[in-house]
Amino acid sequence: MKYVRVVVITVVAAIFCAALAASTLAPANYATQFRENPNSPPSHRFLLGTDELGRDRFSRVLFGSRVSLLLAPAAAAISTLLAALVGTVMGYLGGTWEKMMMAAVDLFLSLPWLFLLITIRALLPLDLSPIMSVIVTFTLLGLLGWAASARVICAGVRALRHSGFMINARALGCHPRRLIAVQLLPNMRPILAAQFLTSIPVFILAEANLGMLGLGVSEPLPSLGGLMRELENISAIAVQPWRLAPLIVLVACVSAFQILVSGREVNS
């Protein structure tokens, strides 16, 4: 298991580094069109060929990975923060407050996630600039993905609420706000980290689904989901298997994250 984790961390680190250095590594800009070479096969010049508009696919995969892999953790951070806020308040207050808030969380969880996401996305203008569409997509993912984590965090806080150090701190007259910030939250760090890591692959996949449905990041900015729209041309996949490159990157990343999360669970 240890070697698997090392390999997985190496894969994730390599993909992240490549995504971060996309501006340097990519032979061309993601929007640059080589109009004389549309749909060209892989070559020295175009490592993964070009798309229908003559844009270098390798460059677009690099930039797309950057968008998906850097913003999914940002969305995960938003959702974990929200979950920490709601879960901590719920678990700390306990009693009727906890029951009421838990009922609200359960109701939120019973909403079909993708339907809710699409409904709220449709409330926003469709003619957003590409950068705004990226921000809106991932912020929405972060704002809507907190409920399941809040339940886990609430259970963790509930377990700690009556522990010795909390009773001591309360007996010494510690203010509830300080109690939460100084005593409770630092002890919740492993749970928060696990929730953060669990959310990342979920958000990468959600963006990919939205992108494939045409409701994700706007063109010409690439994202892994947007790039996979090329797969809709089913007949072309057999002739041009290099079209599968964004899917392979996505599956590698999401699998790696899942192995990391399950490894953490086994260790803890």
């Binding site: 494939m212 449905l213 089913i234 699998s255």
Partner: protein, 294 residues
């Protein structure tokens, strides 16, 4: 009346009240979103240059009373009680008709998908747990992990290439998730001390499974069964779009592209109500079969 029956009845009443409360709240939310959606009370007919100013005034006056928020809420909620879900701006048809037309396709996709998914996932989980072979467990867990990492839309695409129906795509997307849940639940039960004791006494695997393990794991499996309905709703959306299956998921996607908010919020509210009913049903069944655990 026995105590356990009273508990089941109390649970039924509480859950029914929760669902009624949710439907009321979601109705108000739907009405608010529809009332304040861009373009509310704008009639496309007003753009017709042939209409006289009197006709235009008459058209505008049709929406005057709807501008009063309280009147609008009242009418919307009364309509909901009578099964009138409003009308779609994109399709210019009553929402209830649109849903009625497409619900059978979605129901077929979801029911068959969840059924096939559960059969495969449960059998694989049983095999992994009962066989107790690390290689089998590793292989199945790896395959499940890899399949979970593929977006549902891509799964649907590959199923379409294989010329299989949309329900197979729903099943293919659900199997890895359901496998993980059911395998963990069964493994937890299989590791329990009374199962070890039963094995030590020489009971056969089938006897241990059906008489000692499954009855204990049943409440959790039933709960996951209810949750799988919610998962199937979310999975059905990209599947119906990619597989071109004319169901409610495809309708919602078209509504999202056409910014048809009344249709979107109504369908989401309806699906959430169905999910709540399924969850409530699972809890009542659990309380009925395991009064102490539930």
């Amino acid at each position: 009346m026995s105590r356990s029956t009273k508990n089941v009845l109390r649970g039924c009443v509480l859950r029914s009240l929760t669902i009624v409360g949710f439907v009321f709240l979601s109705g108000i939310l739907c009405a608010t979103l529809v009332r304040f959606a861009p373009g509310f009370s704008v009639d496309e007919r007003e753009l017709d240059a042939r209409l006289s100013s009197d006709s235009l005034r008459a058209l505008r006056s049709q929406h005057d009373d709807e501008r009063n928020v309280a009147v609008f809420y009242g009418r919307y909620m009364a309509g909901l009680l009578h099964g009138d879900l409003g009308s779609s701006r994109l399709f210019s048809q009553p929402i209830s008709k649109l849903i009625r037309d497409r619900a059978p396709t979605s129901a077929r996709n979801i029911v068959y998908g969840v059924g096939i998914g559960w059969i495969f996932a449960f059998l694989l989980a049983l095999a992994a747990v009962v066989m107790q072979k690390p290689e089998t467990d590793f292989l199945l867990s790896t395959c499940a992990g890899a399949l979970i990492s593929v977006p549902t839309a891509v799964v649907a695409l590959f199923v379409t290439i294989l010329r299989k129906p949309a329900s197979v795509a729903v099943a293919a997307a659900l199997v890895p998730v359901l496998y993980r849940y059911s395998r963990n639940i069964l493994q937890q039960t299989w590791d329990a001390p009374w199962i070890t004791a039963a094995r030590a006494k020489g009971l056969g695997s089938a006897q241990i499974l059906f008489r000692h393990a499954l009855p204990i794991a049943a409440p959790q499996l039933i709960t996951v069964g209810a949750v799988s309905l919610n998962m199937a709703f979310s999975v059905s959306l990209p599947v119906e779009v990619v597989a071109d299956s004319p169901g409610v998921g495809q309708l919602v996607w078209q509504a999202a592209l056409g910014r048809d908010l009344p249709l979107l919020v109504t369908v989401t509210g309806l699906l959430a109500t169905i999910t709540l009913l399924a969850n409530a049903g699972a809890m009542v069944v659990n309380e009925a079969i395991h009064p102490v655990e539930a």
